[in-house]
């Protein structure tokens, strides 16, 4: 594996090539971090998921019982459904909005272009808790910002809606908060992708009589495929793992409507001290994310050619 330059080096070790020695030396911190913060946690979670461990020192092996219990636990099923609903709603809206914004921003001659970019990314760099306090007041029935805006446009009947206290509205309220907070990030990434597409492709198509929509659908979108895979997978993994927006707006309620998987895991362990059970749920959650990430990458890679 070593290059010819290093083979001539008099300091060359007879058995370990110089490049291997120093390469491993420089990457060694990452190996340590990977073992301590990813491999060890997964191994520990797998181990505890097979036990009835609570929080004390005792853990008895119970085989796959935790997994069997999880599959018939209505709370776990509800958490999975709530996660699917919230993630589906938020990711689909975020990705489509981000793509739209990127297309709009993809015009360097547009005056104020840079200002719009900064405005759109502001929520991304702020934190979930501080802005969560703001969004609590945005949604406050009758007195908040949203009711204020409704009264301004004559929707007085909507002013009393309990956005965070009604089962059907709470997922939408949280999704709106997530959309507000994360869309800018993906818009900037899509924009970078759009800028990477050579302009003459679209120009040639227009000369051949293609409309703007045809150019977008048949040239831009297929060329954006790799970046779209990246955005969808990143948005999914980020959103499905979100704890903060739910914690800040509803805390999982009303009546479990927004008790998503991260909240379920947190409560099962840190409030109910059910370590083995929570570990099993964590393992299933991890598998779900991996399955989605690989599935999305596969589907999106092929669907454009079929």
């Amino acid at each position: 594996m070593s290059s010819s330059a290093s083979r001539a080096d008099p300091r060359e070790h007879p058995l370990i090539p110089r490049e291997t020695k120093y390469g491993l030396f420089f990457v060694s911190p990452s190996i340590l971090f990977f073992l301590v913060f990813w491999i060890a946690p997964v191994v520990l979670a797998l181990y505890y998921s097979l036990t009835n461990w609570k929080i004390g020192p005792n853990a008895t092996f119970v085989g796959l019982r935790n997994y069997a219990d999880l599959l018939i636990d209505p709370r776990f099923r509800q958490a999975t459904l709530a996660s699917a609903e919230l993630t589906g709603l938020a990711v689909a809206s975020t990705v489509l909005l981000a793509l739209g914004l990127a297309v709009l921003l993809n015009d360097d001659a547009l005056p104020g272009n840079r200002l719009f970019k900064v405005l759109i990314i502001l929520p991304v760099v702020t934190d979930w808790v501080a802005t969560g306090l703001v969004w609590q007041l945005v949604f406050l029935p009758n007195r908040g910002v949203l009711p204020g805006l409704f009264s301004l446009v004559g929707l007085r009947a909507w002013m009393g809606l309990g956005w965070t206290s009604t089962s059907s509205l709470a997922p939408m309220a949280i999704a709106l908060f997530i959309i507000w907070k994360t869309t800018g990030l993906y818009a900037i990434i899509f924009l970078a992708g759009l800028k990477g597409i050579p302009r003459h492709f679209a120009e040639a198509a227009v000369v051949d009589g293609a409309t703007g929509w045809q150019v977008f659908q048949q040239i831009t979108l297929p060329l954006l495929r790799p970046i779209s895979v990246f955005v969808v997978v990143t948005a999914f993994v980020t959103t499905v793992g979100l704890f903060e927006p739910v914690f800040m707006l509803t805390g999982g309620g009303p009546a479990d409507a927004t008790r998503v998987l991260p909240i379920f895991l947190y409560e099962t362990f840190f409030q109910f001290h059910n370590g083995g059970y929570a570990s099993a749920a964590g393992v299933l959650f991890l598998l779900l994310c991996l399955a989605f990430a690989f599935g999305a990458a596969r589907v999106m890679r092929y669907s454009f050619y079929e």
């Binding site: 594996m1 070593s2 990457v27 971090f33 703001v134």
Partner: protein, 281 residues
Amino acid sequence: MRHFQGRIVRYVCLTLYGAFSVMPLAWMVSAAFKRPQDVLTIPIRWVPPVWQPGNFVQALLEPRFSGSSLLTFALNSIFVAVVTSLASIILSSFVGYGFAKFRFRGRDPLLWAMLSTTLLPFSSVIIPLYLIMRGLGLLDSLWALIVPLALTGQTIFLARQFIVSLPSELMDAARVDGAGELQIFGRIMFPLLGPAIATLGILTFLVSWNQFLWPLVVLSSQDHFTVPLGLSLMGLGSTFLVDYHLWMAAATLAVVPPLVFFLLLERPYLRGLETLSGLKE
């Protein structure tokens, strides 16, 4: 003419989204200056009728909780975010250099393993991670917030992408001159990273400043709390139910450091996002 119309549509859409993006933040800043009775009014008052800048002093210094003030939380947050960013800059470029400039068996699978960690949500491993921190004796310590973020799949990848484009000839020349490998990294390659250091710094600073779930899990004593954790003690259902103006003053103070940092380092930040998405080598 058609081009002109298209531009109008573009402006209308961008202005609408821009307004949506800024409105909650603008409302927050405005409320932070208000008297309590002016915060939640219909119609909304965007400009405070009476300005009360003293809200910020009160929010920052008044011991709201069991003896701790927002200032204590802010000092903790600054310490954690600064130390994490510095550690991340040094560790990530060290490791990134190894991945970028040396060829050895297993290098690429190892890099993929690091990258694959970015596909897993942090919240799915908090329970075992909590146990590991307990084993390391770091529970309720600010170091528990620093160590796990000092090196991540993202920052390794970023540093590697930046270093790959640096000329290897410099390394060879230094070797001929008898420089050691650590010297080559520290004296020659690291200074060449320049703006990439700012990128690594701002990305890590923002992640560190904004983390909430992890501090919530590992910290227990209030004088170790960070800003988001302290802020979460406010909020609906807390005992400070009517102090909305103070909540908003505290929230404004909490978003100032990341916003200032972002506005100063906007270009390296955006470049970092583009590199992470794999668009730039």
